[in-house]
Symmetry: C2
Subunit: 242 residues, 2 copies
Amino acid sequence: MVYQLYYWPHIQGRGEVVRLTLEAGGAKYIDVARDADSVEAGREKIVEKINEESAARPPFAPPFLIDGDIVVAQAANILFYLGPKLGLAPSSEPDRNFAHQLQLTVTDLLMEVHDTHHPISNALYYEEQKEESVQRASGFIDNRIPKYMNYFEKVLQNNPSHSGWLIGDTMTYVDLSLFQVVQGLRYAFPKGFKKHEKRCLSVLSLNDKVFLDNKVSKYLSSDRRIPFNKSGVFRYYPELDK
Amino acid sequence: MVYQLYYWPHIQGRGEVVRLTLEAGGAKYIDVARDADSVEAGREKIVEKINEESAARPPFAPPFLIDGDIVVAQAANILFYLGPKLGLAPSSEPDRNFAHQLQLTVTDLLMEVHDTHHPISNALYYEEQKEESVQRASGFIDNRIPKYMNYFEKVLQNNPSHSGWLIGDTMTYVDLSLFQVVQGLRYAFPKGFKKHEKRCLSVLSLNDKVFLDNKVSKYLSSDRRIPFNKSGVFRYYPELDK
């Protein structure tokens, strides 16, 4: 079965946690919009699918995944669906539910990161809401980064199997997502994140473990990994990084 | 089995979709923080639980639900867990996953509503970010409310069973959540929401159907339903409602 992933072709964005899982799981997939002749044509494919009038289970927004007859939307929901099929989910049901709960926390965090550069409106450019972004990013760095990092640190330390992974003793899609968070925070807030690194050593060590995964490192050095840029969730604006 | 719900005792907030489902499902539950001697003591109970050092599956934030040995956090995740047990989830797996996907869309919407009065920081009062709130709320009313409402309208119209419910032919927890959204938008943005009402008649009719549900209407007129107020997700500030 070849999965079809629908996500914006020019950014990592909210789709990157799905791409990482597909890659780390060795899945056969088509990144539909990147497979098009141009970025514009790729975006058009997504919009067409979303606007299909008659879909019984329409997605609200990308990312969404098509697997035969099944359409699954919302990144965390896609991972809940894909994880077990790709051997990247815990095996027991309570652990699977906990993995999903953690993934929803990552979702919240990504939304907050996005709003550091778009606190007023998605319909405006960053430059039109720069002053407000400076304020929002400052609170995010000082209050929210440590709150989230302390939490993931606690989950890692309390994992009964002390494996260095968040749940159980093998890597799951949530580990991949936390890796993406660390990569993104280091890119967007090199100074701001640095201030908290000393207090989240288990998180950093998980980041290193994911980096060493064979399939992940191949993906990261391939041209399938879109570089961080100024259109995605994580953006580097020096004035926001204090 | 008596469920224990942990959520702030003075607001509907993100916990209300869970309270509505527990009530509509006729569940036996303790609203732990409301059961305390004071609001302060209630809040303390939640904080204590969150700060427990040794929990193997700790929650990040309320709401969370305790069911025997199981702790489930994140509102959408709690509903995914509770729905089938209370007869308020669809019966097939693809429909259950779709229900969850819709619930995650409601989660996103609630986060956006919250940010209309807290665009800069949760750590500041509304009064300290009022000017930015006016801007954010304006974009929310003009762009986001119609986008979400059009989507739910489409889901209702494309439901193959044409039941007036979002999925299948019986009321599920997602219907209850969409009801809560309509109640909240009408409270917080009476003028702003009115502008879009004509184009979401199926959503409004779902709202009316939920209102007529016996258990729901008993709950709404009981003192267990906390009134909307100026601390929750939905807040009425005339200056934000244009």
